[in-house]
């Protein structure tokens, strides 16, 4: 039992700091691969964490692929029924409070384009794209040991991400007010689910970035931790890439 107690004894922070092995990881990952030195090292000369992150992203491709497919199918089926004036579909939109002109516009154009505000979304897409740039700089700064810069870039990335999210929330409310509800139509369900999932990913990324920032302010984000930043970066870029797809597929292609 004493053994157990010893095991559970929390570690002194300083101790941990010096020991670049016991990396505290910000997004719940583990690093045991690094710890048994005498034995294990990587067969491929890669870091386990990084490999794991890439695998995770590979799996995310199928997730977003399925969501995008669902969206496309839902939109197509929605428009088919709408153009055929299926009364239930019309009722669904009207119950959500969609103005009649907008509905007629949908029908006339056979497209959901009228509800989108392309300039606005282009702006937020650009912001998200920009955050990828700041993210690489953050990583660069950390690996070069430039702590001041790293904080600036991390904060900038988180800020840009938050701006994007704010834009999305704003967009959602606008859509909602225009009568595009989650339950009112197939298109609404598909659209909000896809973009909502993406938004949840961005939010997760922001939380990671903020955690990094906190670590940095507590002096724990030193160059030996560059990989952690890189991992967050990979995730962040991936989320950005997904938006590149969504922006084109959902917004630009009617």
């Amino acid at each position: 039992m004493t053994d157990t107690a010893a095991r559970e004894m929390p570690l002194e922070p300083e101790n941990e700091l010096q020991d670049d092995v016991a990396v505290v990881d910000d997004h719940g990952s583990d690093i045991a691969g690094h710890d048994d030195h005498e034995g294990h090292h990587s067969s491929l000369g890669l870091s386990n964490m990084k490999l794991a992150m890439w695998l995770f992203l590979g799996s995310e491709c199928l997730l977003f692929g399925a969501l995008i497919s669902t969206y496309l199918l839902s939109k197509a089926r929605f428009l088919t029924e709408l153009v055929a004036l299926n009364p239930r579909v019309l009722d669904g939109l009207r119950d959500g409070g969609m103005p009649e002109e907008l509905i007629q516009e949908f029908i006339a154009e056979g497209s959901v384009e009228p509800i989108f505000d392309i300039p606005f979304t282009s702006g937020s897409s650009f912001i998200l794209l920009m955050s990828s740039l700041t993210m690489v700089f953050a990583h660069k700064a950390v690996s070069e040991g430039n702590y001041r810069n790293s904080r600036v870039w991390l904060a900038a990335t988180a800020l840009l991400g938050s701006t994007f999210m704010a834009g999305q929330v704003y967009e959602f409310t606008i859509f909602f007010r225009e009568g595009l509800t989650y339950g009112g139509s197939l298109f609404g369900s598909g659209f909000f689910t896809l973009t909502g999932f993406h938004g949840a990913h961005v939010t997760g990324g922001i939380i990671m970035l903020l955690s990094l920032l906190v670590l940095s302010f507590r002096g724990k984000l030193q160059s030996n931790r560059a990989e952690t930043v890189e991992l967050v970066g990979l995730y962040w870029h991936f989320v950005d890439i997904v938006w590149v797809l969504i922006f084109t597929i959902v917004y630009l292609i009617p």
Binding site: H41, S43, L44, G45, L46, S47, K50, L51, W54, L55, L57, G58, S59, E60, C61, L62, F64, G65, A66, I68, S69, L72, L73, K75, A76, L79, T80, V83, G110, S111, I118, P119, S122, S125, F126, L129, M130, S132, L133, M135, V136, F137, K140, E227, E230, G233, L234, H237, F238, D240, I241, V244, L245, F247, T248, I249, Y251, L252, I253
Partner: protein, 117 residues
């Protein structure tokens, strides 16, 4: 297959030391990539306003989308610069394997549905 490089006797890759990517792009290169991305985005949006339809609209948009995709993956996510490790195959496969699989599978799904719009 992703394994040729792993045939190297153990420890041969130890010069990779801490990690696997030697040369990362310079700050300037990042900026260049970013500007290209930004330009593409602008062109995309503009294109969507040209009032084109069908293939004329969709194909260029998709092409630009794909280019952007690879720019981010290649430059920002360092896939391009990881080419040195394992001849770049491992990460590339983990990730693009997922993408290719997703594309293949979902394309087939689509082909089995009726499309009217």
């Amino acid at each position: 297959m992703a394994d040729t490089a792993t045939e190297t006797p153990h420890g041969a890759d130890s010069q990779h030391g801490h990690d696997d990517h030697g040369d990362h792009p310079t700050e300037k290169q990042y900026w260049v990539v970013f500007v290209i991305l930004a330009v593409f985005t602008a062109v995309e949006v503009a294109w969507s306003y040209l009032g084109l339809e069908g293939m004329q609209l969709v194909v260029p948009l998709i092409i630009m989308m794909v280019i952007k995709f690879f720019l981010v993956a290649g430059a920002f996510m360092h896939l391009y610069f990881d080419l040195k490790v394992l001849n770049g195959r491992l990460f590339t496969w983990a990730f693009f394997g997922g993408i290719l699989l997703a594309m293949g599978v979902y394309a087939v799904v689509f082909s089995t549905f009726r499309w009217q719009i």
